[in-house]
Amino acid sequence: MAYYHSVTLDRERCRGCTNCIQHCPTEAIRVRGGKAKIIKDRCIDCGECIRVCSSRAKRAVTDSFDILKNYKYNIALPAPALYGQFGSDITADKILSGLTEIGFDDVFEVARAAEYISALTRKMLDEGSLPKPAISSACPAVVRLITVRFPSLINNIVNFLEPMEVAARMARKKAREKTGLPDEEIGVIFITPCPAKMTSIKASIAVNKSAVNGAISVNDVYLRLLGVLKNVKPKNLAKAGFEGISWARRGGESYGTRLQNYIVVDGIQNVIPILSAMENEKLNDVRFAEFSACPLGCVGGALNVANSYVSLNNIKNIADRAGKSKPIGDVKDKDFMFEKQLGASSAMNLDKDLTAAMKKMEEIEKVCETMPQLDCGACGAPSCKALAEDVVRGYADAYDCIFIMREHVRNITNELYEIAESHKDGSGMTSDEIARAKELSKKLLELEQHQQSGYNFNIAEMERY
């Protein structure tokens, strides 16, 4: 369970192109033997590769509806982004009632739990007990990105549980009281727009054991739900208001803080420069930072169906109509806090030992200088620098670079040609020249074979990478 990841590769579909390797924010993907390979301890499950893969070979492992069979009583925990999938005139009541007709016994809105987190955030801002600037913990991909690439900001992350986890605890308690069933017989299933949430459930970095049992993707729920939405009689199930539902879109969480001085950044490639500026204390005057790995917020989640811009508009309308929800009284801090301390990941480090790391760094620079600096990706690494690093770490070979390979082949061929050219008068080759020609031919053959054996070797090695 050390490196559980929801994002995986469908090897059959992968064509070995360079889309995913060049978009990965943690340089966690390499193409080896014509197939993409995910370096497990670097992957943050942001889903960027799922979004950019034109062969649809990157997938998020989520649960199927079969998971409902494991429990006597099942509660659906819809992410607020689910509300945005069906048009702007639908109501939350309709969607929630629909969920109770496709196999769930009850529902608990994550949007309602989000309102508890908003209330807690306001309370702690008032008390002045949040770090400055305070970084939202709601997007699990961003939290993981910080542990991998911006560890000095770990202490700026507010240590509140994700709304999903809060919802699960509340839903469980309610179900226990209502049904008298023990915890093991109650299934709490998240309806997820997000691959990283699956990892939050199976291998949380915040809680010891998640109260959520599994997650079904919005994509997998969509058609079943669409089938019943037309005729469903809406029951009075929706508890979340404008504030909670708005968490589905960029800026929604920040609205809940009631602050004026906040920053909202969406899209993982936009998040990175802002985190970097924060690390340099350039944004110390910002009180609260809301980040989402997905463009436009959770409505942009890789497992959604609707176009994220359309969905954003739907959410605005649905949230407006929902209006104010029942006020939340005093919140108990400890119910909503991380149980574990976040730790820095060492996935990007060259070596545990500083001297060894420095030596490797110097070698990397030397190797990198020999490369074309085109970052073409043909070698399977995202950039020349990344290949140079792989070479020094022992996971790749400089000849994986087609330019270096070509130059090498050209030099050998030229030398062979020159030997031949010097005997065009018909004179015989000396024994030294024959030996050299043999040696060069052998090298050419080796280079040709290198590609295959080298790749195979690398696949085995990368497993430990």
Binding site: E279, M348, N349, L354, A357, M361
Partner: protein
């Protein structure tokens, strides 16, 4: 482990590139997050000074046994009164530079705050050399 950077004095869009590049290097080396943060803040401030006041120059950044040492050198106007320049809020930055959000007079004080040692060698009309040390 020496990294050399040329600091442009005319292209403001690349100001900060040396410090952000060196930050990546330090992280890869596994230097502790707190030290990386202190080095990057101090180095960034010094880099901006080299651009804004020094008219560009060069930088040598080095990880040594026990410390990180960074030297910025420029052939700019030099600092007339170092003591004054070290005061928080004092700045000789032009209005143009201030409009870009710089020139708050926190550069040198911040460098002092985040480093374990700093040394300024400067001569009016000749240039400035500033050495930053952060202990590991």
């Amino acid at each position: 482990m020496l990294k050399h950077y040329d600091i442009s004095g005319t292209d403001f869009s690349v100001a900060g590139e040396a410090s952000s590049n060196f930050k990546v290097v330090l992280k890869k080396l596994g230097i502790s997050p707190d030290i990386v943060r202190r080095v990057s803040i101090a180095m960034y401030e010094a880099e901006i000074n080299t651009v804004v006041h020094g008219g560009g120059g060069e930088c040598d950044a080095e990880v040594l046994d026990g410390c990180v040492k960074i030297v910025f050198k420029d052939d700019g106007p030099g600092i007339e009164n170092v003591e004054l320049a070290m005061q928080e809020g004092y700045s000789t930055a032009s209005d143009t530079v201030r409009e870009l959000g710089f020139g708050a007079g926190m550069g040198l004080p911040n460098i002092k705050k985040y480093t374990d040692d700093m040394k300024i060698e400067t001569q009016v009309g000749v240039g400035t050399k500033i050495t930053l040390i952060v202990n590991l």
